[in-house]
């Protein structure tokens, strides 16, 4: 039984890693097509770095990810705090609203934002589909996730700590800044990290909300794949996989050291 389980696990892990390893191997392959390894080359990486568009797409991706993560983390943290600490009319409704971006298939989310931007352009004359609309779209799904993550952390906190701060004369903002926020910090950091990952990974919402000049790396990969398999995409994928693996491993190592 034990043996069978280990064998099964081995197969599943092979299934998970094989496709990625093949891409990595092929990115160093001289041959343009097929999987026969004909010789080692760095030509595809050279071609990638010589393409100025790729740098532009990379910067677009980073801009969207950082701006949207920053905004959504602030909005989400405050919203979570309000939801946990206060009672107000419409609270139940707001909580339902929060689940919509989490459960709605991303195609529906994408087209509904597209409709919103088209409607706003009709009524107000802006915004044109651009990097800005992509950022607005990303913030929308990120806010929901950040709020839920931070909220679950806040629910674990002892309300007595905040009461103590108030009894000692701290004002509302001081209590928040010196007591609540530091205690909620692991939740806020986890929420921000999740938001960043979701933004970097997103293709569908970007696809529907991006206009000309707002190409991100996932959009670039999609349009090149539509034209057929290309070794340049192998190289780009390898770089992205390598970078994310590096940062994840770093995070994993750091989290283990603290424990």
């Amino acid at each position: 039984m034990r043996r069978l389980l280990s064998f099964h696990a081995l197969l599943v892990y092979a299934f998970l890693y094989l496709p990625i390893l093949v891409i990595v191997a092929l990115s160093f392959n001289e041959s343009r097509r097929g999987v026969r390894f004909t010789g080692f080359t760095l030509d595809w990486y050279r071609a990638l770095f010589q393409d100025p568009r790729v740098l532009e797409y990379f910067l677009n991706t980073l801009t969207v990810a950082f701006v949207s993560t920053l905004v959504s983390t602030v909005l989400g943290t405050l919203l979570a705090l309000g939801l946990v600490r206060y009672r107000f009319p419409g609270k139940g409704f707001l909580r339902y609203l929060l689940y919509i971006p989490v459960v709605v298939p991303d195609v529906v989310m994408g087209v509904s934002l597209l409709l919103l931007f088209a409607f706003a352009r009709e009524a107000l004359g802006f915004p044109k589909l651009s990097l800005l609309t992509v950022i607005l779209g990303h913030i929308t799904f990120q806010v929901a996730f950040v709020t839920l993550v931070v909220r679950s952390r806040l629910l674990l906190l002892d309300p007595a700590l905040e009461e103590a701060a108030r009894d000692l004369g701290a004002r509302g903002f001081q209590t928040f800044w010196y007591v609540t926020l530091p205690l909620a910090w692991p939740g806020v950091a986890a929420g921000a990290l999740l938001a960043l990952t979701l933004s970097l990974d997103d293709f569908v919402v970007t696809f529907f909300t991006a206009g000309p000049g707002a190409t991100t790396l996932p959009l670039y990969i999609y349009s090149s794949v539509k034209l057929g398999v290309s070794p340049k995409v192998h190289a780009l994928s390898t770089l992205i996989v390598g970078l994310s693996a590096f940062f994840l491993a770093l995070g994993y190592a750091l989290s283990r050291r603290r424990v």
């Binding site: 696990a9 529906v108 409709l115």
Partner: protein
């Protein structure tokens, strides 16, 4: 400052904390959802714009056999990928939970999952194409080459690959909380392994199984990227139809109706899940 804040102070605090995020949700979640609903009753104008008359005609069109078939295919992809994820993921969750290095194994499970979604889909395109690895492997035995891509099989395989961790994590969470004494008790009472598993272990993992199924079923049914790239026109799911209506066809009204239909399916499956698991289960899902 003491306990009792004045009504104004309380109002101010709610305004500062809930205000911005709440406004955002109203503007970018509620309003677009309502717009989709309204658009689904409108008609495509001569230039692809939305216009009158209002009516249920888009919904009548959704029920045409051509579109119902896409719905059936989406449900099939959702159901089969959930089943395959269970076959791959359920035993794996047990293996990980009983392993001394389970942190590392969980991390290794998450790693490919956190690399870009599109790259994971693309990788399968490379493996399954005519001159891909699978055909090269089979060719070594004198078989093939087969047209694995584009096909329903390719879409299914890639969908499972993409969403498998969604299944393993909730199951792992319930395996970790498992009370193994029940299994021992079953053995003590003379149960054979299979029977002991079915009665003492399996029911304890139902919450994880349900959560994992919902988490795989919903995105598997709703995605269009996998079918778009690996089905390449042969596999058309609801998501693909929606994308077409908002893209080349430019019939936003009909696309919106399809979107409302897809949402209906999602809400129905969540409702069924909540009925089985209770309201708390819904919160644990996230």
């Amino acid at each position: 400052m003491n306990e009792a804040a004045t009504p104004f102070q309380r109002f101010f605090r709610v305004l500062v904390t809930v205000g911005p995020g709440g406004l955002w949700l109203l503007l970018f979640v509620l309003l677009p959802t309502l717009l989709v609903l309204v658009a689904s009753f409108l008609t495509r104008g001569p230039y692809g714009e939305l216009s009158g008359p209002l009516g249920l005609h888009n919904y009548a069109r959704v029920l045409e056999p051509l579109y119902l078939e896409a719905f059936a295919q989406s449900l099939l992809v959702g159901a089969l990928s959930t089943l395959l994820s269970a076959l791959l993921g359920y035993p794996l969750a047990f293996y990980i939970a009983r392993h001394p290095k389970r942190d590392l194994l969980l991390f290794l499970l998450l790693l490919p999952f956190l690399t870009n979604f599109l790259i994971r889909v693309y990788a399968w395109l490379v493996l399954l194409q005519r001159e891909g690895l699978l055909n090269a492997f089979l060719g070594a035995f004198g078989l093939g080459p087969y047209a694995f891509y584009p096909s329903f099989f390719a879409v299914l395989l890639t969908t499972v690959y993409t969403f498998l961790p969604f299944f393993v994590f909730p199951v792992y969470a319930s395996v970790e909380r498992l009370d193994w004494q029940l299994l021992e008790a079953a053995y003590d009472l003379g149960a054979r392994p299979v029977r002991a598993f079915l009665h003492a272990v399996l029911p304890q993992t139902y919450p994880g199984l349900f959560a994992g199924s919902v988490l795989v079923f919903i995105p598997a049914m709703g995605t269009f990227v996998v079918a778009d790239l690996l089905g390449a026109g042969r596999v058309v799911l609801i998501g693909n139809l929606i994308q077409q209506q908002f893209g080349v066809t430019r019939d936003w009204a009909f696309g919106a109706a399809l979107g409302v239909f897809l949402m209906g399916f999602v809400l129905l499956s969540l409702y069924l899940y909540a009925r089985i698991q209770g309201e708390r289960g819904l919160e644990e899902l996230v």
